[in-house]
């Protein structure tokens, strides 16, 4: 009986436990990591990636993939940097709103053109990258100093990085949306059986557009958080965030096939991936072995966090 209960708890909260175990392991090797300052600085550094992970979760819950998030983050960073001399802080809502609109357009096109999300978002990746290149002429764009919103994102309140606080707020909102609203219910059901949901009268184009709008909006926020740290934007500034974001989602236990998982799990998955990276780096392994160690540890983490009872056929 006890065993059963423990096992059930483990299965439900696998990701949290894995996070704690890895945290324990890493902090044994480097006790300094548990200091508030250290944690905070890690969270601050990784806030852009975490918000991308949060956003990327929604299309994946539908069973879709948004490959354009990293390119969108770069495009948003570039646009925000170009607009900030004119618009100042207002450039942030403008850029995030614009990104959400572009994301929504992607979602809508998937339904209208009936082209798989993989293709649409891959095409969008190319387009966003090209546009960002064109806008900047492949040059670096600096942020005008003294714009409060970037200063805000780059600083702390209550002793915690504002960027990370923003990640928490966004993730909390999405988690509540998924749990308490009709839209959230539709998103999960969509991932489980798109056709049945369609025939149940759900506005599937709307649901899909919403999911892609949030992933693009989050990506734009991520790009902006990133330049609030770097103070420079370039057409490829966030380009490498795509795979880590997808890894984070999967490590958190969200199934690529859709219908299973959640925003908070993804956030935890992202934290696990960050800690694994920290652990591998401070392990002092030669650089050639670090990739191997990272790959294998991630695999073990996913093996522990996947709730196999909920996934029908594993593909």
């Amino acid at each position: 009986m006890m065993m059963d209960a423990t096992l059930r708890f483990l299965r439900r909260n696998g990701a949290v436990l894995v996070l704690l175990v890895i945290l324990a392991a890493v902090s044994t090797a480097a006790p300094g990591i548990l200091r508030w300052r250290a944690i905070n600085s890690l969270l601050q550094d990784n806030a852009p990636m975490l918000i991308l992970i949060v956003g990327a979760t929604l299309p994946i819950l539908l069973g879709c993939l948004d490959l354009s998030i990293a390119a969108m983050a770069s495009l948003a960073a570039v646009s925000a940097a170009l607009l900030s001399p004119v618009l100042g802080s207002a450039s942030v809502p403008v850029v995030v709103g614009g990104a959400a609109a572009l994301g929504g357009l992607q979602g809508w096109l998937i339904g209208r053109l009936q082209v798989p999300s993989f293709v649409i978002s891959l095409g969008a990746l190319g387009i966003f990258k090209g546009v960002a290149m064109y806008l900047t002429g492949a040059n670096m764009v600096g942020i005008t100093p003294g714009i409060w919103i970037y200063d805000l994102l780059g600083s702390r309140s209550f002793g915690m990085s504002n960027s990370f606080l923003l990640v928490l707020i966004v993730a909390g909102l999405f988690a509540a949306m998924l749990k308490f609203t009709n839209l959230g219910r539709n998103i999960y059901a969509f991932g489980a059986n798109e056709i049945a949901v369609y025939i149940s009268g759900v506005r599937r184009d709307m649901v899909r557009s919403f999911a892609f709008a949030t992933s693009a909006g989050c990506a734009a926020l991520g790009g902006i958080m990133m330049i609030s740290q770097t103070m420079f934007a370039s057409a490829t500034v966030a380009g490498s965030l795509l795979l880590p974001a997808l890894v984070g989602v999967v490590v958190g236990g969200t199934a690529i096939s859709g219908g299973v998982g959640g925003v908070l799990s993804s956030l935890i998955g992202g934290l696990i991936a960050i800690l694994i990276r920290v652990g591998v780096t401070i392990s002092g392994l030669p650089p050639e072995s670090q990739d191997v160690a990272f790959g294998i540890t991630i695999l073990i983490a996913v093996a522990l966090t996947t709730d196999r009872a909920k996934i029908g056929v594993v593909k």
Binding site: F180, T181, N182, L183, R185, N186, Y188, A189, A192, N193, I195, A196, V197, Y198, I199, S200, G201, V202, R203, R204, D205, M206, G259, V260, K310, I311, G312
Partner: protein, 504 residues
Amino acid sequence: MTAFSLEGISKRFGEVTALDNVSLSLNEGEVLGLIGQNGSGKSTIMKVMAGLHRPDSGVVKVGGRAVQLRSPAEAALAGIGLVHQEQSLIQALSVAENLFLDKPAGSTWAGVYRWNSLRDRAKAQLDKVELDIDPFTPVSALSFGQRQMVELAKVLSLEELVHGHLVILFDEPTAVLNPPEIQALFGQIRRIKHRSSVVFVSHRMDEILDISDRVYVMSDGRNVATRDRDAVNPDELYELMVGRQRVNRKDRKPREAHIGAEPALTLNHVTVPGEIEDISLKLAPGEILGLIGVQGSGAETILRTVFGMADDWQGKIEYFGAPLDIDTPAQAVAKGIGYLPAERKTEGMIRNTSVSENVAITYGWQHGRGAGLISRAKERGMIEGWVRKLAIKTPSIAHRIDNLSGGNQQKVVLSKWLFGKTLKVLMLDHPTRGLDPGARSDLFAVIRELADQGLAILLVGDTLDEVLTLSDSIIVMKDGRVSARIEGVQAAPPSEEDLVKAMV
């Protein structure tokens, strides 16, 4: 002589006991009719016999010897074959490949297909079921009924593969067949009787009594009675499995008074290229309009067109006097139109989710807190109400729908339409497919009640009997056109012969 027997078989799924100490013996050359309510364990027995489930306890004997059937392939070697309740052909493959999917012996050499030999062997099987198609047709190109015949041919190919006695299991094979196809199936069953025993599951009493030698009745995972065919009548069987008296259709009083004067739905010359042509009909609030026709006659297309699912259609549809201008089911639902699809697995149930999510998907929000917020507590009350009313057999409403029996899944899918506050027209495509007789009459009562409350109902029925029982008027479809219209059905029921004549 006993060909096959189960002794004291039990099978549990988590907290559900699907089979509770069941024994069954099957004589050589016998057809055993297996009946029982939805969720009583019929499919589970069949799956145990076919090696798909391993029993928790009990003994399986083939020809008097205790055996362990670890997989369908082992069962096939022992001469046991199963035609599934849900169709299980692979669409991407050809008919021939499907026929020999589970028994490749001879159709491949070192993993390479021998197409000519495969074709000949497939042709021979298809001839048995009198299906005149190219063995290399992809399954995706076949009609539903044809696929069922392929399933049959697939099982019958055991005849050539196994030398001993065969045991052939049919799980609700007739649910998707039309009368001539059912007769063809029965012909096959009679033909193979000389060397096989058959277990036949159906919810239709007349079929059971037509084909079976003995009837085996299940209730709640237990065998409650076994009767020789000659010693039972339908009413007794009904009482055995449902536990109450059968209601007679004649009891129903005409209800014309409730039918509204203004039509809810009017179709004027509606055409869907290649499927239906020039369909006109009227449906009033409170009216039940039955549509019948053989598979492919277009009745389903009418429903789907009204529901905004046709890709391309011409004509005019009016909804309470105004033109119906919709493009998606969502818009249809917003206007108050509901649709229960026939294909439960792919279009009806949302798999991998709970019973409650399946029920609440469409109208849950109407019982929420507004602003798109849902209230699971309020929903629970309503859902549990329908679960009780439709006698849905599920441990709880949080149970996964995939783990319910076929009939209970159907009831869950149906109930999502039943608690909408705004529903005005409900279209039902084979709503009783897979329901047991008790559930069917429960559902009939619900449908009538809904009509009495003023809902307009468009019904594509499973059987003539069903349409005759429920409908106020009937439209008979043939090759995409209306071939007969009958008004005042309850007052002056047409004869079944007339209807069949109009259908074919």
